[in-house]
């Protein structure tokens, strides 16, 4: 297993900037997730690390050594493609053993490793079948097996779960996590699904339009998003975001807009008077009748999602969403009182976090 460092990677396709000065360090054995909407450049980054596409600027270092001049073959990385890219004319066993064959291992070694891997992944009965005879889940395992069997320095996975149906996805995700704990490989994983990113990653890189917006462990990304993009991208339902201003009142800072005002904490006082955006996650808003210092809101719509309810309410002209327990009872048009803990507020100025 090896460490991976990316320094200033940039890539352009004609006029389109795919990647812009991306820096990243992945420790040995770490599971690093590249998360972002489609078109943000995450797959391109993976291709550059693999050596399939050359970067325009910057350097890729594996275990501290630059590998930019090396072909994919010499970089000793393994890749799982979104469409699995299994060799359609070869059997599962041949697919698994192909990489080993290319590196000149003996037939016996190959056979041994392939059957070990097949047992590990539960596909030992499928060894003589062709890819088109397999189900999606089985193909996915073969693709994983092909990568694992080579015991490479790095694993690169490009949205490996996105072609699976929802239930299978959850199962395979758990297995992946277990697998990582077992083999302790260095993994670079690309996805647009935030649940995958949060559950699998030791470290998450949130990407947008070719740059990394935030690189942190999942909890940090969730609790302290670095900008409004990360804040609204992670978390479902999305964080509520309000535009407004900061001002001084009775000795401390408050946030206000034409519909309401709130105390804020942990914000540098020099920002008084600034235009900011305030974020609060739906689960951090509570309904509390009868206490003072509450905000009055009118219920507009209630979404019932089974395990809980989402309340869509309005304070004046501002809309917001909050979570409620599934037994809680609300009616459209009802006035409710909301309590917000100031320490759970996120303040952003010009998109970036300031408090």
């Amino acid at each position: 297993m090896a460490s991976l460092r990316l320094k200033g990677i940039s890539k352009r396709f004609g006029d389109v900037v795919a990647l812009s000065q991306v820096d990243l360090y992945v420790e040995e054995g770490e599971f690093c997730v590249l998360l972002g909407p489609s078109g943000c450049g995450k797959s391109t980054l993976l291709q550059i690390v693999a050596g399939l596409t050359p970067q325009d600027e910057g350097s890729v270092l594996v275990d501290g050594q630059p590998v930019d001049q090396l072909t994919p073959r010499d970089r000793d990385v393994a890749m799982v493609f979104q469409s699995y890219a299994l060799y359609p004319h070869m059997t599962v066993a041949q697919n698994l053993g192909f990489g080993l064959r290319m590196r000149g291992m003996t037939k016996n070694t190959i056979k041994k490793r392939v059957s070990e891997m097949a047992s590990l992944l539960g596909i030992q009965d499928l060894l003589n079948r062709r890819p088109k005879e397999l189900s999606g889940g089985q193909r996915q395992r073969v693709a994983m097996g092909r990568a694992l069997v080579r015991r490479p320095k790095l694993f690169l996975l490009d949205e490996p779960l996105s072609n699976l149906d929802a239930r299978l996805r959850v199962n395979v995700r758990l297995e992946l996590k277990k697998l990582h704990e077992q083999i302790q490989g260095t993994i670079l994983y690309v996805t647009h699904d935030q649940v995958e990113a949060m559950t699998l990653g030791d470290k998450v890189v949130v990407m947008k339009e070719g740059r990394g917006c935030q690189i942190d462990p999942p909890e940090t990304i969730y609790e302290r998003p670095a900008d409004t993009f990360v804040a609204t991208f992670i978390g479902s339902p999305a964080m509520n975001l309000f535009k407004g201003k900061l001002a001084q009142s009775k000795g401390h800072l408050i946030f206000f807009n034409k519909n309401f005002s709130l105390n804020v904490v942990n914000v540098p006082s020099h920002l008084e008077g600034a235009d900011v955006e305030m974020g609060i996650r739906p689960e951090d808003i509570r309904v509390d009748h009868g206490r003072e210092k509450t905000l009055g809101a009118k219920v507009e719509m209630i979404s019932y999602v089974g395990a809980e309810k989402y309340i869509h309410a309005r304070i004046g002209t501002t809309s917001l969403t909050l979570r409620a327990a599934r037994e809680a009872f609300f009616q459209a048009g009802e006035m409710i009182s909301l309590v917000i803990d100031p320490s759970k507020l996120h303040i952003f100025q010009k998109g970036k976090r300031v408090g």
């Binding site: 693999a50 050596g51 399939l52 073959r73 990385v77 469409s83 060799y87 359609p88 290319m102």
Partner: protein, 295 residues
């Protein structure tokens, strides 16, 4: 689909079916019919008696026919082999993305697009024994050494083979290109990551996956090669000494130059049966292979 719908669609097919029946199916049937008669064009007073299998017997003992058959076989085998080889080479190149790819593709298409007779005249010119550029390329300015390509039996056959290879390799290339384009790019990427170098990628991935397209190309080319006519007519007229007297040319001469329509029909029927047989064999083979290698 309702009954009414089906009949609507089937009605649309009628005109074409009619045309094809009239101009292809019926003539073939008639050829078979005529092959059992003795007919000489231009001498209508001799009538056209039914002679049963006489024509066929004559065919079996006709030395020119036999010679023609072998000449054609040699032609088919040689041209098909080289055209597929060169076609594969061209297809691999066109498939690659590089600046100027369109220009190369246009270059390669030109031999296909021009009339065969033009290509034939062209090669006749280039292989000329007094001022042909091919001779110049090989022998320089020493015109005394120049080979009279089209006047010697052995080289005449070679000449028409060369002309056909030049003309048709691009068509083979296009058919093979189709097969190449179906292979997903990701598979090559996976192979690169797995450690396969260029020639290994070709051998383990490209070659097995283009086999169906190769077979289709083989089928079309073989059948077309059996029907060669234009090149032989223009370049050598079948000579010298019947060295390039391919089957269709011989049939044409017998039927329309000498007027033996009955015997000529017999020849046609035999050629037809050979081509049909080939087609059936190939379709059997291709059918199976296509099922095996489908992605």
């Amino acid at each position: 689909m309702t009954r009414k719908d089906q009949s609507f669609f089937l009605t649309l097919l009628v005109p074409v079916i009619l045309v094809l029946l009239l101009f292809i199916a019926a003539p073939i049937g008639q050829s078979i019919f005529l092959s059992f008669h003795r007919i000489i064009i231009g001498l209508p007073q001799l009538k056209t008696p039914f002679v049963g299998l006489d024509n066929y017997q004559q065919l079996l003992t006709d030395p020119v026919a036999r010679h023609s058959f072998w000449i054609t076989i040699i032609f088919v085998a040689t041209t098909t082999f080289f055209e597929l080889l060169i076609g594969l080479f061209l297809a691999l190149m066109i498939h690659h993305h590089f600046p100027g790819r369109g220009a190369l593709r246009a270059c390669v298409l030109i031999p296909w697009a021009i009339p065969t007779v033009v290509a034939a005249q062209m090669w006749r010119f280039l292989l000329n024994d007094a001022y042909g550029m091919v001779n110049y390329a090989v022998f320089g300015s020493e015109t005394s050494h120049y080979i009279p390509w089209l006047a010697q039996p052995a080289t005449a056959l070679v000449a028409i083979i060369i002309a056909d290879i030049w003309k048709t390799s691009s068509f083979a290339a296009l058919l093979i290109l189709a097969g190449l384009q179906v292979i997903p790019e990701e598979i090559y990427q996976a192979a690169k990551v797995d450690g396969a170098v260029v020639w290994r990628r070709f051998w383990h991935i490209t070659w097995p996956l283009i086999r169906p397209a190769l077979l289709v190309a083989l089928l079309f080319r073989t059948i077309d090669a059996f029907r060669v006519f234009d090149i032989a007519f223009v370049m050598t007229q079948g000579g010298p000494a019947d060295a390039t007297n391919v089957l269709q040319l011989y049939g044409y001469k017998k039927m329309f130059v000498e007027g033996w329509m009955g015997y000529g029909s017999t020849l046609s029927v035999c050629i037809f049966i050979m081509v049909l047989g080939l087609a059936i064999i190939y379709v059997r083979m291709v059918g199976r292979r296509l099922l095996e290698a489908s992605v």
